[in-house]
Amino acid sequence: MALRTLKPKKIDPSFINEVKAAGGKNIGACFQCGTCVSSCPAGLVTTYKIRKILRKTSLGLKDDVLKSEDIWKCTTCLACYDRCPRGVEPVEVILAIRNIAVRHGYFPEKLKSNLRNIINAGQLVTLTDDISGFRVELGLSENSPHMKSSKALDEVNKILEITGIEGLEV
């Protein structure tokens, strides 16, 4: 493979620090051995290679990383977390990158609708009529025993408001 030269204008040297502050604190310890990739179920079926994302992040290729579809492929299985010989906790880096991506407007539609469910119902997976009927057949309450009061939903929304997440779903 031919070596490519990085164009300086695409490099943001502060990106790595941003990622560290957002939770990917050990990224600097990565020595690119690839143990994470060889453990990764998402890498098995997609073009996502966690090691490559770590390298690009260290190099400051911010736009490239934040825009990438690949950062959304991790299943958070934690295999890389347990196996990395350098304690990088790669999954923490990916989650930090996702948090930054969301704040930059790269927020996958499906996850937005997950957030809407939390705002509207306090639950990610919501009840259907069919399941409600089945619950009664099983001798359970019609609705989930959680989120029983409007106070609970108010509290959830207050938290989202304080952290500035409410509003990002639109």
């Binding site: 977390y81 948090n99 969301v102 939390i118 099983l138």
Partner: protein
């Protein structure tokens, strides 16, 4: 013994049989489960931590404060809920700055995280607090005819840093509980492979999450197992629903029934399949039930 029952979203809203089984087996064991009426989504570790770490911590901590009010540890039936709540609890117990930050948010809704409670997976409760001996004694219908492929699920085993017992001790515990029913635990390739559902992948890219499930299911099929038993509501959901989806997409012929451990134990305790909600599983269990004479 009493616990705060944290069911999460998947069990009550997709596989209510898991909720019914949990209530019934704990009733038989004489253990009280207290409902958490004010609890929200855990919130889902893959989805919500991907959106915003602090929000994830604050919503998780809010749920834990409800268990603190109940003065009873949390019992979860989903690896996702366990992963979220246990990790939030671990972080807030061990990191003073994060705890202050989270409590500052919680103070606006008149709550305070105190760090007084444990978050326990149902397998931990059954293995450590109840004990395999009592589980064995509770078996009325031994499931000796069944070959089980155990799927532990990722957040049951990892991360090693935040769990009281390491992955191999946790595998041993789950194996012992499965074997306590009389069933045989089979060996299969890449047993620790993820089911493919987590991290928001199932929401975001269903196709890739099915591809991971396909690898897992192929390995299990190769072993000749009669059934998959796992300790997670979300893995149950994904492994059961993936099979018809893969059959349609690739002309596959997957037909391996999937049960959550609480349902499996319920069968062994002599509860009726319809009481455990087995009729709504996409992969039918009829042949299997015939095999064990239920």
């Amino acid at each position: 013994m009493r616990y705060s029952l944290f069911l999460g979203c998947v069990a009550p809203h997709r596989y209510p049989g898991i909720e019914a089984a949990t209530r019934k087996i704990f009733d038989r064991l004489g253990i009280d489960l207290i409902d958490m009426g004010d609890a929200s989504c855990c919130p889902a570790p893959g989805v919500f931590r991907s959106i915003d770490n602090l929000t994830w911590l604050a919503l998780g901590a809010r749920n834990i404060t409800i268990a603190e009010e109940n003065k009873a540890d949390i019992l979860t039936v989903c690896n996702g809920c366990f992963g979220s709540l246990n990790e939030v609890n671990y972080r807030l117990k061990n990191d003073v700055i994060t705890r202050l930050e989270v409590n500052d948010i919680l103070s606006k809704i008149n709550r305070e995280y105190k760090g007084e409670r444990e978050v326990k997976h149902v397998v931990d409760v059954l293995y450590n607090d109840v004990g395999v001996k009592v589980i064995k004694e509770s078996v009325a219908v031994p499931l000796e005819a069944l070959k089980v492929a155990v799927h532990y699920g990722c957040h049951f085993l990892r991360p090693k840093t935040h769990l009281e017992h390491n992955g191999s001790a946790r595998m041993k515990a789950f194996n012992a509980l499965v074997e306590a029913t009389g069933a045989t635990n089979v060996v299969y390739r890449d047993k620790l492979l993820c089911c493919g559902a987590g991290g928001g992948l199932r929401s975001n890219d269903l196709e890739s999450s099915l591809e991971i499930a396909k690898q897992k299911l192929e390995n299990i099929r190769e072993s000749g197992a009669d059934i998959i038993v796992n300790p997670c509501s979300f893995c149950t959901f994904h492994l059961d629903t993936s099979q018809p989806a893969l059959n349609e997409k690739y002309g596959e012929t997957f037909r391996i029934p999937v049960l959550h451990y609480v349902q499996f134990l319920g069968l062994a305790m002599g509860l009726k399949p319809y009481e455990l909600g087995l009729q709504k599983h996409l992969i039918p269990l009829d042949d299997l039930l015939e095999k064990v004479g239920v």
